[in-house]
Amino acid sequence: MTTYSDNESHLDEGHVNELEFSGLRVAVTGGTSGLGLALVRQLSRLGARVAFVARGEEGVRAVARQVADGHGIVGDVSKKEQTYPIALQIKAALGGLDVLIHNASSLGPEPLALLADTDCEDLQAALDTNLVGPFRLTKAVLGSLALAARDGRAPVVVHVTSDAADKPYAGWGAYGASKAALRHLGRIWHEELRGVGVQVLDHDPGDMDTPLHAAAVPEADPASLKDPAVSARELIERIAAVRQAAAPTVETKEVEHASR
């Protein structure tokens, strides 16, 4: 189910220069709830062109109706045969790609379970969604990201991770291991792509009041959790800073390309 905060006006828009995101081509996976939805809404308000991916057709349509200029794509990043159709639609919707945010996440077993009680299929599911799916999708769009780099647009890939990737929380084995792998994969991507001009960063958004967190910790008090809109803002500011560092005079140039 989509949940979203209508209350984002309290967020300080001053830290992010709108010019930096105007016309920027961004894809977000898991874009119809939680952090993904908050990102889609904020990026769209900043003038970015946003394509978002989610499994549920109804959720995709609902979000597409709310977000001006947003392109909804129905797809499951964990499934190998859907990766390229998703990549195809991202490239077509945006005419290229500057920022890819791997946000779609699976807990693995639901409810969470000790590793000893976790079916291997549930560990596999966490790996498929949180590690292998992002790996495949990055590869499928890498040519487009490299093209953006050559056009001076300072492309970025984001892996949304978690402190569960770092701290050995009992019950969080499948999710934690998959996110730890994702984070390390991202570090190696970043090293390998230096010459190509694509940056890869991992981002821990904190414990947020989202459906995913509720599925993991149903008894948690929402008041103690972060508003995903706040996490989205933090990630957006980080993306802006990372892009600025790569190309100090980056303005989002007119796309010098046939695909406009």
């Binding site: 392109h71 045969e81 195809l88 005419g95 890498l142 010098e256 046939a258 695909s259």
Partner: protein, 366 residues
């Protein structure tokens, strides 16, 4: 020729037959393509991603099964996806040779074609019963979703296992505009790009809508290649300028790159969009490309004809003999040749046997 029958883009034993400007032949491992390029050369590659251009469905009026293969459109713009040129086949699939596929039912303007979630109307036929202009219903977004969901890459009889999109995108594929894979690009993985950079060879891209290779009908095949839109980035024009200023070669990775660059060069080599509508063959004087990496093709194919602009017929004939004798695999997942322009051979022979019929005077060497 042996067909490469498995969709492996970079088989470890892939070879490259190198044809030097004076016509000498040499076999090399294709993974050592880097060794064939010198500092200050520029390797120009086609970054087009392959469309899932094959759509199965039914012809409303007759109820017959058809396959539509998208084959052309007017531009590379992602929202320009309503009107297409298409080749239509009758029932059957890729396991039948293209030329043995039955023709489609008679197609008339206004006929509707139901292709999975997509619906298209035939606007008109284009001088041949298999060739039509069609128009999809719906928004651009819905059309792309339908292509993604229902479309498949164009399949080949010689590759038995059905191809998926991941089989036919080059490692560096960008904009989804190609009707069939620009398969010379299969040779270039990311490690090789790094090696080229380390050697001082620039890799520059252009985007060209690589066209279909076969229509199933000899009369229609003779009209190939269709007009193909392309886009030439400013950065590539600049890279070519740098290479030429430093005495480096402009090496085209594939016939699609050759076609796009030569068309652009005939129109001032300016960055931006174009439509490659020319044929390149033995009579063509190359303006910008010095060498081409291509697949293994046979006389009669347009790719082979294009090589005629680089090397004389006698050399290409020896090349073909060598490819055959050494069992080079042909087609999309096959092996490769690198042909350098004979214009770079310092000693041009005046006598060129077999180029002219006996009753015509010999021509001056190129």
């Amino acid at each position: 020729m042996r067909a490469a029958d498995r969709p492996v883009q970079r088989p470890l034993d892939a070879r490259l037959l190198v044809v030097d400007p004076c016509g000498s032949l040499r076999h090399a491992p294709r993974e050592c393509l880097v060794d064939e390029l010198a500092p200050d050369d520029v390797l120009v590659v086609n970054d087009a991603a392959t469309l899932p251009a094959s759509l199965h469905g039914t012809h409303d009026r007759t109820g017959e099964e058809i396959e539509v293969r998208l084959a052309g459109r007017g531009s590379l713009a992602p929202d320009d996806v309503h009107a297409w040129t298409a080749v239509v086949f009758g029932t059957g699939d890729h396991r039948t040779l293209t030329e043995d596929r039955p023709p489609p039912p008679a197609l008339q303007p206004g006929d509707r074609l139901r292709l999975g979630p997509l619906v298209a109307a035939v606007r008109r036929t284009l001088g041949h019963p298999r060739l039509v202009e069609l128009r999809f219903d719906g928004s651009a977004q819905a059309i792309w979703a339908g292509l993604g969901q229902h479309g498949k890459p164009i399949q080949y009889a010689h590759v038995v296992e059905p191809l998926s999109l991941w089989d036919v995108w080059t490692p560096f594929a960008g904009p989804p505009v190609a009707f069939e894979p620009p398969s010379a690009g299969f040779a270039l993985d990311w490690a090789m790009q790094g090696e080229l950079a380390a050697r001082g060879v620039e890799v520059a891209t252009l985007t060209h809508a690589a066209g279909i290779s076969s229509t199933g009908d000899p009369a229609l095949d003779a009209r190939l290649p269709f007009d193909e839109p392309y886009h030439l980035p400013r950065a590539t024009v600049e890279a070519i300028g740098r290479a030429r200023a430093r005495g480096g070669d402009v090496v085209a990775l594939g016939t699609t790159v050759t076609r796009a660059l030569e068309h652009a060069a005939a129109h001032g080599l300016r960055p931006g969009p174009g439509i490659a509508d020319q044929r390149i063959g033995p009579g063509t004087k190359l303006r910008v490309v010095d060498a081409v990496v291509s697949g293994v093709h046979e006389p009669g194919e347009s790719h082979y004809e294009l090589l005629g602009a680089f090397a004389p017929a006698a050399v290409l004939s020896r090349m073909s003999d060598a490819l055959e004798a050494s069992g080079y695999r042909n087609h999309e997942f096959g092996e490769s040749v690198l042909v350098r322009t004979s214009a770079r051979c310092p000693d041009q022979p005046v006598c060129q046997p077999f180029r002219q019929p006996p009753d015509q005077p010999p021509t001056k060497a190129r």
